[in-house]
Symmetry: D3
Subunit: 193 residues, 6 copies
């Protein structure tokens, strides 16, 4: 699964095991990231707390100007720029489901400029990609450009913080050589029966 | 302090205010990151929990093969590569203190290859810099190269995870335009009286 | 389909229409490249003659040291490096079928270094990627490195010429903004019934 | 002449030998590309058919908005960006003759922005260079910019397709280590007697 | 001090020794560059003559539109872009003194876009950085942009020539591995007593 | 001739005018750099003193392990990497004469790895190019690699200092938009009558 052996579910701390089993129940399998990062429980807890605060804002009592699909688009496009196999495949799968579009994840992963997205989403991704790839050059003019598409201060924070969080995740996945579960490759590609 | 207004200390949630006051007590001032990120309490809690799990391993009951100075070297060198003003100045200050060397932070921030460090630290930073700048190209040969200098699996994880965490922090600081407190610029530059 | 209107099948020159109908018969649809490039019949004929000479060597009375899967791997990996949506999606589909592996195309498109391939294929792609991205730096030592994995002079020519041909195709697709047919996205992802 | 031994003229297939002798008659020597690529007759035929369709449009019953000099400028400038010795020297020679200017090839090969060319040619080369070096980023705004200088849809296709064809040629020449004939270095540098 | 042994002061040619002693008198120590480059007296004389003509214009009977602080800003920012430890540390020290600002050198060395400088200085540094990093792409539009901030022809020459001179100095320092004197690290950081 | 008007020969300071007339006598024309830089006499004097100390070592009583041809090769190759039209054309001409080879300058300017040079010259240029393009990464291993080809400490200094000097010259030429004299394009291309 990765360069580091993953713990077995039965050996996990209670709170982590409970979350893992909940995800398994819901998804039908345990995404590798839940086990690969569990070698270090304190880091696991912080990682998923941060992830949920950004990707599931309602879990922390917050609403967001970004849709679920928007968030996964940011993850997929910036993770592709970072050549992160796990994140592109896993979040590409989630994006297909969230956006109800079986093509958009592959499009974003190859060339976000050619994807079937709105001009607003294009502006969102232009900003995210610049922050991902050359964050020191991000200036007020970049923030103004994305705001011109209707993103407010909080939405800009969301775009930027998701990009930043996955800058970390991508490097963790590339550090550990974490592989995506086989299940992700096909998820969201077929019409619901 | 940053593109986003920071909350006042008195308006912070209790747990965050307590931590902020504790830091203020110890350092003599409140580093801007503690207030700038407090606009979003859930993210703040995850950020600092993650930070402490990596940078203060004993706080989560773990020991590490890396010294305090090693850790700050990783932060300073990779943050410079990401042109992150806050992180270079703030962690450069901490590095001067931890390493008891008033020059090494400026050296690492300009060119880590020319710094007064050991060959082991050079190997550590070669690995961290590759992960910071081109993580998709990190391969088993890079891990073998750093292990050849005596870093074990856990130490490699530490180097990589600290690099990854600051890949995130650097982007958050560049997103918000967060500035370092004036105090950091001089810290650790003078011999203790 | 692209920035340039494609001709209708009925208006094509006889030889081109015959080939298009043959492909349609076999694949169940007409891949967009066959129509998009048919605006210019002389270029179309040269393009497909070249394509077939490299990708279907037996069509010109030649055998090759590369398997069909090898060839499509080169196309998928180098086209991803060139951010070519059409080529990654269309040839990724063909690769899934040729390699009888529903995951390898997405892996190669994201990070060829992390794909489920043999060391020989990895050496083949290291060479192809260097030629795709920095051909002026290719030297005798690169050729020796790929030959060390059992590729002979003709196989090296094949790897290089396929890479070169798709350096052209990728730029033509990006010039015209050619989009992949929807059919390609799912091809080769499901086990044969 | 190159990493691969070239066939002798007497051993070439009839159609290729006829073309080679025709070129020799006209130029006074056989440019190396005609022999180096003849090891593979099917590829040779496709290569030169494609070349002529783009570089000698009247040979396929087409006219073009680009002059002969324009076309060679695209080849020289983009081949220099790809560090292709054969193409810069051979097509630089042809450019000197076509443009009746003994300096412009060296100027374009060193820095196309400083060459003695018209603003229209500068716009043409800006477009060609972006397609050569970062084709995935070419967007509608780039096409609009070149059209603003009077290039129509067909001329844009010409610029782009020539750039794409030489993206292939440059990589083939760098793959094979093909060297330019000595004759090219001086061609077009002296006033006609 | 560097990869090359430096001569001793007593062994220097008279004119060089006089200058070295004068600098020592003034600064309280001999900056390493004065000894490291003295191995080659003819080059030393040309280097410092050039340096003074640009950095101390009044020494050659010239006035300049740039302040002393402006000049040191150019040196510090472009030397950081070239990862030159000696120049960043030594000229950063001089900048702190000239600009009477203990923070601006560290800011410029990390990310000149985030420094406490005027819009005029930002335009000056945008121009200097482009010339330092991609001089072949500098065009009339870049010169117009910097002139729009009130720099005249002579000031543009000054910005450019200082950038060019330190492009040389940075490479000389990186060639010789020249280290900054310890004294520079603290200079200009403390309020004058 | 350049973005800045050049002074007339008659208006030059005596020492500069003498040198200019001497060059004109010898070459048959005045290379533009002699007039373009004469707007600033103090800089002119330092520039040519430095140039001669490096490029004409016997003028300062020094011998060098590098041949005249070696020195011009360094200038031509690194100036091409910096897209400096003046330096590539002018020094390419001198190189043709010094090396008595009408092809080598065009080869080096396009791709130094493909030029007709010795392995020793290739090692010299590998070192020069790294110093030109990424001087901060030059380390002891690079110096050892060039020394392995028989260059001693002084020769390494020569290679590096010439590279550094032209890093400056290239930027000055690109700053001023200085153009090469027409005479240079043909110099050294014809056999001596």
């Amino acid at each position: 699964m990765s360069r580091y052996p993953a713990p077995e579910i039965k050996d996990l701390p209670d709170d982590i095991r409970a979350k893992v089993l909940e995800v398994q129940e819901k998804a039908g399998f345990v995404p590798n990231v839940f086990l690969a990062f569990a070698r270090r429980p304190a880091e696991w807890r912080a990682f998923f707390a941060y992830h949920d605060a950004l990707m599931v804002p309602e879990s922390v009592g917050r609403t967001s100007n970004l849709t679920k699909g928007d968030r996964e688009m940011i993850v997929t496009a910036t993770s592709a720029a970072n050549n992160c196999l796990y994140c592109v495949v896993a979040h590409g799968a989630i994006l297909r489901i969230r956006a109800k579009n079986p093509r958009v994840a592959d499009q974003l992963a190859t060339n976000y400029r050619k994807a079937e997205i709105t001009p607003r989403q294009r502006a969102m991704l232009d900003f995210a990609m610049k922050l991902a790839l050359d964050s020191g050059a991000v200036g007020d003019e970049d923030i103004a450009a994305v705001k011109a598409h209707g993103f407010d201060d909080e939405a800009v924070w969301d775009i930027g913080a998701i990009t930043a969080f996955f800058a970390m995740s991508n490097r963790l996945a590339n550090l550990t050589g974490m592989r995506p579960n086989d299940e992700f490759f096909l998820m969201g590609r077929l019409p619901k029966a």
